[in-house]
């Protein structure tokens, strides 16, 4: 006999972010995995016993074996940082419906502000060497202020026209970076400037409160510099995810959705058009500014040209592939868009090393050493013309994915997940 289904007995219960215990458990496990990811614990390096005959498990799973590697921590850190920016764009474009191609610009504003506040001055650039608790929020606030200045445009134009207007911002930004005062902040064009580390100081003292730039010990664990940064970004990313979720489920988020779905009706229902759009631009830009500063801290080098149109488009792709308007979509989309090219590259490298067996045959079929082969992927890093290199294929894959998702699954990966979930919820019935 089945027990009674568990019912919600209060509105508090029902409005929780993770209302069921299954969801709480899964989310908890997922976050635990994220925290353990940079360490060597979950890595499978040995052949899996009993599965050795499967070529892919022959010498460890290629997707998992690099996880303890410094290079891959850097990539996952990048995912976390860009996820913050994607969450911001999702609030503006997905929730409030204001399509913006200027997200890279706001990130650039954040990065430059952070460099100006926290960077160290020399003969070529300005800098105030302020501690992180000033420059990181400062980056967000400066970007938010610029967002507020831009937002009146959104009241005048909408849809594709707004996209074009915000597109202009990216070029304005790159131009500003090349002007004389821009060079003082962002460094010489195409050279850039050094970006400060993430050390947490109270003020400008010698030894930081929390050292983020060297390997060291945290609590009882030895952590490398990369692992420290990863954990720092992870905490921030989780924090911003919760903020974004909360915004969407309360008054402000509902106002944004109302503006997105029916702007004039929303106004008649008492949702102020201008104020809502202004808030959307400001908050989205705040997220972008923070992410912009962090993404530069990851490479340790600020280059104003990096915040270009392609960067903006990448975020649109993240939203489209992940599922616009949903927080989880923004997160999955970021993971997918940043990681998939790396997976493809890593997999190709692994294939190139494969000899014999099924994987060897697959490698023979699709890889080519350069001459007389029928493979469509060149194993060289650079390639002229056909066969394309892995990097070229990645760009093609990226474009094809955007088209496929727009046509077949407008709700993105999140939509696919919902469909799969509903199928199993209803199983064995079709609905």
């Amino acid at each position: 006999m089945y027990r009674r289904p568990k019912l919600y007995t209060s509105y508090e219960q029902e409005t929780q972010l993770l209302p069921t215990w299954t969801q709480k458990g899964l989310a908890g496990a997922f976050i635990a995995v994220l925290f353990l990811l940079p360490f060597d614990i979950p890595v499978i390096t040995d052949p899996i016993p009993g599965l050795g005959w499967l070529p892919i498990f022959g010498d460890g799973i290629p997707v998992v074996r690099f996880l303890g590697d410094g290079e891959w921590i850097r990539v996952t850190s990048q995912v976390l940082v860009l996820a913050i920016a994607a969450l911001g764009l999702n609030l503006l474009s997905g929730v409030a419906g204001q399509v913006s191609l200027g997200h890279a610009f706001f990130m650039g504003v954040g990065a430059c502000t952070a460099a100006y506040l926290g960077g160290h001055a020399d003969s070529q650039v300005w800098g105030h060497s302020l501690p992180i608790w000033i420059w990181l929020p400062g980056a967000g606030i400066a970007a938010a202020l610029v967002g507020i200045i831009v937002s009146p445009v959104a009241v005048r134009v909408r849809g594709i026209y707004l996209a074009i207007v915000t597109l202009g911002l990216v070029f304005v930004g790159i131009h500003l970076g090349n002007m004389s005062f821009g060079r003082k902040i962002a460094g010489p064009p195409s050279l850039g400037r050094e970006f400060q580390d993430l050390d947490i100081r109270l003020w400008k003292e010698e030894t930081p409160l929390i050292n983020m730039s060297d390997d060291g010990r945290w609590l009882f664990f030895d952590v490398t510099e990369e692992q420290k940064r990863y954990l720092f970004f992870l905490v921030l990313a989780i924090g911003f995810t919760v903020l974004a979720k909360n915004l969407v489920r309360t008054r402000t988020g509902r106002a944004w959705q109302a503006i997105r779905d029916r702007d004039i009706a929303a106004e008649v229902m008492g949702v102020p058009d201008f104020k809502s759009k202004l808030e959307a631009f400001a908050i989205s830009s705040f997220f972008a500014g923070i992410a912009g500063a962090l993404v530069v801290s990851l490479s340790g080098h600020l280059l104003s040209d990096e915040f270009n149109l392609f960067f903006s488009v990448e975020f649109i792709a993240i939203l489209l592939i992940g599922g616009a308007g949903t927080t989880s979509g923004a997160l999955i989309g970021t993971f997918f868009v940043i990681m998939i090219p790396r997976f493809v590259e890593e997999f190709t490298r692994w294939l190139a090393d494969a000899e014999g067996g099924v994987s060897g045959a697959v490698a023979n079929a699709i890889l080519t050493g350069g001459e007389g082969d029928f493979g469509f992927v060149s194993s060289g890093i650079e390639s002229q013309g056909w066969p394309l290199s892995v990097a070229d294929w990645n760009v093609v894959l990226f474009g094809v994915l955007i088209i496929v998702f727009l046509i077949f699954e407008p709700l993105g990966l999140f939509g696919i997940w919902i469909k799969v979930r509903n199928y199993w919820k209803g199983w064995p019935f079709s609905y």
Partner: protein, 258 residues
């Protein structure tokens, strides 16, 4: 002059060469069910749009409790307590029924984006209080089983009801109903008529109703205004309107006079 809830003082609205409303004036008292009828293109919905200040009339004045609302932003008008439903459903299609009604509560809530982002504390308290009020409306309109569904998935008649609910969520003093039973079958029309009467009796909200269903209008309206080509051709009690030769001419076509 006794204080009317709403006084529309000879407003004229033009779009270029077209005069949509031509010197129309009327008043509505508290708790009254006032109805505006007229053939297509008579300017009924335009009057609603001027009341919620989506359109700005060139001449005349609109007084709310004795004070002019001309030039106010639509959301400020909503804050005064003028709520409305639309002829073609204007719900927020991707939001659930509960979220649509909560959006109606927007003007009665005041937590900022900051407290919303933090959730715990005032924002949560306010969410819960307003959710309770929204549930009262859901209960009143008998749409309990649809509460968690996105409105785009709901049948037309239910969407109309949700839209009425969204307007009620604003705690209105005056409710503008734009063709509340358009496109509905007999049963749905009767349901809606019952809701309208209940709103008046239990909540005491004044209403202006634009409607083509003459049976409904004559049955439930207190007073009726008849428009044709933007001009007022008659105003009065339902029984008088039915006998009015100008009204009959406007609806059935009269002999050409002059």
């Amino acid at each position: 002059m006794s204080e009317h809830l709403l006084v529309v003082d000879d407003i004229t609205l033009r779009f270029g060469g077209v005069t949509a409303i031509d010197g129309v004036g009327f008043h509505v008292d508290e708790g009254e069910l006032f109805s505006i009828i007229g053939p297509n293109g008579a300017g009924k919905t335009s009057i609603f749009n001027t009341l919620s200040q989506v359109y700005r009339p060139q001449e005349g004045d609109i007084l709310w409790k004795g004070e002019s609302i001309m030039g106010m932003r639509p959301d400020k008008v909503a804050e005064l307590g003028i709520a409305r439903t639309f002829q073609n459903i204007e719900l927020f299609a991707n939001m659930t029924v509960v979220d649509n009604l909560l959006t109606g509560r927007h003007v009665r809530m005041n937590s900022s984006w900051l407290s919303g982002a933090l959730w715990f504390g005032p924002a949560k308290k306010e969410e819960m209080e307003n959710r309770r009020k929204v549930e009262d409306i859901i209960d009143f309109l008998e749409i309990e089983q649809y509460r968690k569904l996105p409105v785009a998935l709901l049948p037309y008649g239910i969407q109309k009801r949700v839209e009425l609910g969204r307007a009620l969520a604003m705690d209105p003093v005056l409710l503008l109903l734009d063709e509340p039973v358009a496109g509905m079958n007999q049963e749905e029309t009767e349901d809606m008529a019952r809701f309208i009467l209940d709103i008046r009796r239990e909540l005491g909200i004044a209403m202006i109703m634009v409607e083509h269903d003459m049976g409904l209008v004559m049955d439930i309206a207190d007073r009726i205004l008849v428009l044709d080509f933007g001009q007022k051709i008659a105003q009065g009690l339902p029984d008088d309107i039915q006998q009015n030769p100008d009204v009959i001419a406007a609806y059935l076509g009269g002999e050409l006079t002059g």
